[in-house]
Amino acid sequence: MIVIRLEDLLYSAPLLVLTSSGLLALIAEAAGRDKPVISYYTSLIGVITSLILTFLNLGAGVPVFNNMILQGGYAAYCNLIFLSSALLSIVLSRSYLERMQYHRGEFYVLIVFATAGMMLMAAALDLTIVFLGIELMSICLYVLAGFMRKKELANEAALKYFLLGAFATGFLLYGIALIYGTSGTTNLVVISRSFAQLSGNSLFLIGCGMLIVAFSFKIAAVPFHMWAPDVYEGAPTTVTAFMSTGAKAAAFATFVAVFVRVFDIPGTALSSVLALIAAASMIVGNVTAIAQNNVKRMLAYSSIAHTGYMLSGIAAGNAEGEQGILFYLVAYTFMNIGAFGIVSWVEQQEDRKLKFDDYAGFSARQPAVAVLMSVFMFSLAGIPPFAGFFGKYYVFLAAVKADMTWLAIIGVMTSLVSVYYYLRLVVLMYFCEGESDVAAKVPLAAISAVTLAAVLVILLGIYPSLLVDMTKGFFKI
């Protein structure tokens, strides 16, 4: 019996290269003391190589390793999101961590391993891999959240994230156990073939419900969102950027892989449950965000709201929904990581705290950065011609096509609410007087990363078809 074929290794090259670079970075850290820069470059090279290999692998998806994972196609597309998020986070982290005096090579190792976990989540064709991928990502993130271990808030954030994450793991496993018990397999392709018959099975449906609970924890959807604002606030800002983009995208990628690509949910109770969660997330996220005074917390609640928008695509469960989410994830990743990047940058360069008022008069001090921040805010608010607008457009369109017009209406109404708090920051930056500071020196790598994100947000806003066309062939396994 041939266990591993050569093709398996070739198709999964992005994953293998990335993991190896993590191992190399770890060895480098162990061998060369006090030189985290070596790990920085090793992991950076690993992520970039993996990104290039993924681009070469964008064709049709191929199941590898005994049908355990899918490589290429859908998985490759999602990998692009995770790898870009990892790349930008690594670049932004270096100056941030140096400033905070926590610059250690293990940080990059953990980011790389977490990214490998995300790639497994998106690629999974078996519930075993879904479980292991989620755990690999989460364990790395628990540590990253508490990386600044002398800071009380970071400890608390890590503990909260860990306890709630492990609690969610319990539900994930119970869900997997019930699905396995009723279908007799953990292979998603096999389950998808017998879904019609299984969907009348009450135990199977409870299993799916438990999976929804677990995934909702990971994507921070209401009512399982309570960890998000605290953890986002307590974690190092660049880790928050990584968590709110890469980790969320990964959780969505598995959510879509299981609930849209495998299960045929339109018309079942699962679809209404998801629609309700989506509506609640949009309302709670946007309304609570208004009351925030801390920019990191505001972005946390805004990310809950964005979870709601994207979930409406899953609730719709049609091809448009899947395409919409996949586009939205890319747009959201770039605009959110850009926004968090600037927040981390303000935090380190100006020694300011994270309040809204600290941004008053920002445009006078840092005109270029203020423009970038405004781009991200406009895009998050969903104002055309930025990428965020088309993301919302596609998912709401999918909801309307699936006869969930009410969901699309709630979405549009709550997005209008969101304009208030996003633009409040822009207004503060441009039209309010702040303390006049000397402009700090901008770290070149960090600013180019943020600029790249802004360029992509604008580019995808003008040519959304660049991405949407790529996702056309993905619907269903």
């Binding site: 005994n66 391993f113 292991l132 991928g133 690999l136 271990r149 135990l203």
Partner: protein, 170 residues
Amino acid sequence: MTLQSFLFYLLAVISVGSALLMVTRRNPVIAALYLILNFFALGGLYLTLHAQFIAFIQILVYAGAIMVLFLFVIMLLNLGDVKQLTERVSYKKIIAAGLSFALLMEMLYIFVYAPSDLPTSRFEQAATIGTVEYIGKQLYTTFLFPFEVASVLLLAAIVGAVILAKRRLN
């Protein structure tokens, strides 16, 4: 009553009893010891299901390694002081218990009243699949890839634990 069902009910009582005692104890050391008892009972239950390999690693890994780590940390942090361990009872706990009870009732209802949804017994095969040999073979063929993923996961966890808990980093 067959031997299997006798053992099942005996171990089930121990398992539920120790679980209840575990979540209600104030002192974490005692709670940990009840949890270990629960794990031994589970190991016995796995044997009644002919899962020999899993039964033994349950004892070795869970009771032997994981719970020792728990006890070690509890004693390292010196959490035995009973005065510090008082917890308040709030309305939240009552809501939590109520919700959990509702969940339990729903699941029990389905398990009891929807037996047609459950797998039909192929129990005679169970004895062959639970052996170390069969599991080892599967682990290194069909499940080789998840096995490798698990190794990366353990490495990440080791790195993370050292980073967070080591007293002095350079």
